[in-house]
């Protein structure tokens, strides 16, 4: 931990410093802010499908998400820091996640849990977005179908790492352009490109 009680009292009297020191810290503001943010992330669980069950398992007795300061499940986007999309995101749900994301106050982060949320997974069909990043920006992708609770916890730790690397000086990190309804956040060509089937699914649906 980098928070150390250090300080010099005016006048330079060491005895006073020793007396006062428990009430003084000096640290980088960035460090303090990021430390506080990372260790008390309030999740907004956007659980849709199978991954939500694993998220529940992560939150329940054995894996205990409260070790990471995340046991306060928000269910209200207005009091949440991290949007945790656990599960498939069909097109019918796309405007909903966009609305929820827009309602969250800054600073906010997004974890995309599982293959379907990250890339559409095995559902390369007419009904599914091929990854939630076509709709909202994503900070951490957790692979797996579904990810094990340990995998999700690792993703959360990665997010901690990312948060701890942020700085308040760079305002661009927290800048957000609110899109009007129906606007795409990526250029259409890019959405088409990232939605292309890849790997095994190309062959599996070759006849399609």
């Amino acid at each position: 931990m980098g928070v150390k009680p250090v300080g010099t009292a005016p006048g330079g009297d060491n005895a006073i410093v020793t007396q006062m020191s428990p009430n003084w810290i000096t640290t980088r503001l960035d460090f303090l802010v990021n430390w506080a943010r990372a260790n008390s992330l309030w999740p907004m669980p956007f659980g849709t499908a199978c991954c939500a069950i694993e998220f529940m398992a992560t939150a329940a007795s054995r894996f205990d998400i409260s070790r990471f300061g995340m046991e306060r499940l928000g269910y209200s986007p207005r009091q949440a820091d991290v949007l945790l999309c656990a599960g498939r995101l069909p097109f019918k749900l796309a405007p909903v996640i966009r609305r929820i994301y827009d309602q969250m106050p800054q600073p906010k982060w997004v974890i995309s849990m599982g293959a379907c949320a990250s890339s559409g997974g095995i559902f390369d069909t007419y009904a599914m977005t091929q990854g939630i990043d076509t709709v909202v920006p994503v900070d951490v992708y957790v692979p797996g179908c579904p990810p094990r609770p340990e995998g999700l916890l690792y993703g959360i730790l990665l997010l901690h790492k990312k948060i701890k690397g942020e700085t308040m000086v760079d305002k661009a990190i927290r800048e957000e352009e609110v899109l009007r309804r129906g606007a795409l956040r990526l250029p259409p060509e890019l959405i088409d490109e990232v939605s292309e089937p890849f790997g095994n699914s190309v062959h599996q649906t070759r006849s399609a």
Binding site: P90, I100, C116, I122, F123, S207
Partner: protein, 431 residues
């Protein structure tokens, strides 16, 4: 929401003015528009419209309920579903029969092994394959484990919905123990893909039987604890008894199945009425409710878990030795070593992987009793290796369709209890 409609019928939202802004009616003053709402003692009331979901913690997934309320009383509920529609059935038409099995994990993801079993049974009926004795017993074990896991999740989440958090931790702890067994067997906690057409993906691992026996011993104690907390609790009874009553006639008319129809007093269990996997040779009872309310559904599910333990113990006792797969190289992949070493096995391996297993033209419907109700697989084949139509008969989809009927006239808080009692899983409802 676009512009106002200009048809003769006045369907404008009573709470909104012409420009779509909410109209505030001062308390104690009769509604000037008179015809809307009940006017009693000069206090104008109007129905409130409440939207729950699709992202609401109490709707068990991405279900959206539009509720019309008169004070706290539910006048009407209109469920909106489809927020998790992923095109399973369409996707199945582009897959070989064995390739569909991974899809079934993700329909009812609270009981994946039972879904796997149902799909394999459908394909086997279509192809006329008779599975081995050991496979049958192992599949019974898979089905009953699934039922227990599914009911445990139901019990935990329903208790949370009604304000009791502790049973959630107990049931999830117990479920984790079942999951460990499931994982040891299939390699996955949730997406098991246990079965193959004509057999199983793998035999049970070493230590599985002892582990399952231990689970069978412990589970009734956990249920006892949960029951001590809930069954006679005044709060639990007040929140569940007489709530969401569905008569036997209605239950049949709404095509309900599983605990929903049995709690209403109809003795319908696929395991007894259309036995599969030799269920008729197991000794177990089917619990039947009397009142058809939320409390009876709770009791039925608890007894079902205890009966599942009985079935599991019987299955473990009778588990025969022998192969798990049928002896037919056209259906079952040859072992890797054989495929690498002899020509014939390699050809069978190649043909199966590249061309799939052909099913004769025809159609087959099989149903199993899943935790949610009657889970069916309906296959139509035109003689190729991919089905023309793969249909899941989704129990919770059909059970949920009676929600408006059950919730009418109850309080909004009871709606949560009723919705929880249906035991829905959106992956299966929306498919």
């Amino acid at each position: 929401m676009g512009e106002k409609r200009t048809v003769g019928l006045d369907l404008a939202t009573p709470g909104m003015d012409a420009s779509g802004q909410p109209v505030r009616v001062p308390l104690g003053v009769a509604d000037p528009r008179g015809e809307i709402g009940d006017v009693e003692g000069g206090i104008g009331t109007e129905h409130l419209l409440l939207n729950m979901g699709p992202q609401h913690p109490a709707t068990h997934g991405v279900l959206r309920l539009v509720v019309e309320l008169d004070g706290e009383v539910v006048v009407r509920v209109i469920p909106h579903i489809g927020y998790l529609h992923s095109g399973f059935e369409k996707l199945g038409e582009y897959r070989f029969y064995n390739q569909i099995i991974p899809l079934t994990d993700r329909t009812d993801y609270l009981a994946p092994m039972a879904n796997n079993v149902c799909l394999a049974m459908g394909a086997e009926k279509l192809m006329g394959i008779e599975i081995t004795e050991r496979c049958k017993v192992l599949r019974v074990i898979a089905c009953e484990m699934s039922r227990i896991i599914s009911h445990l999740v139901w019990l935990g989440t329903t208790a949370v919905d009604l304000g009791a958090f502790t049973p959630f931790l107990w049931t999830f702890q117990e479920r984790e123990r079942m999951y460990d067994l499931q994982e040891a067997w299939t390699g996955a906690r949730l997406t098991t893909s246990l079965t193959r057409v004509g057999g199983l993906m793998a035999d049970i691992p070493e230590g599985f039987e002892e582990g399952l026996r231990k689970c069978c011993k412990r589970l009734p104690k956990v249920l006892d604890e949960a029951e001590r907390m809930l069954t006679n609790s005044a709060i639990w009874c007040a929140r569940t008894q007489g709530i969401g009553v569905l008569s036997a006639e209605d239950a049949i008319n709404f095509s309900m199945s599983g605990p929903m129809i049995r709690a209403s007093g109809v003795d319908y269990d696929v395991r007894k009425d259309r036995p599969y996997l030799d269920y008729e040779t197991y000794d177990f009872e089917v619990p039947i409710g009397e009142n058809g309310d939320v409390y009876d559904r709770y009791l039925v599910r608890l007894v079902e878990m205890r009966q599942s333990v009985r079935i599991l113990e019987q299955a473990l006792d009778r588990l025969p030795d022998g192969p798990i797969n049928v002896d037919d190289p056209r259906v079952i992949l040859p072992p890797k070593t054989a495929a690498m070493n002899d020509m014939e096995s390699m050809i069978f391996h190649f043909k199966q992987v590249m061309e799939g297993v052909r099913a004769p033209a025809g159609e087959a419907y099989v149903a199993i009793e899943n935790g949610k109700g009657e889970l069916g697989t309906y296959f139509v084949s035109d003689g190729t290796a991919k089905p023309v139509r793969w249909r899941i008969r989704p129990p919770s989809f059909i059970n949920l369709s009676a929600l408006p009927k059950m919730a009418e006239g109850h309080l909004i808080a009871d709606l949560i209890a009723i919705n929880a009692s249906v035991d829905i899983v959106m992956g299966e409802i929306d498919r």
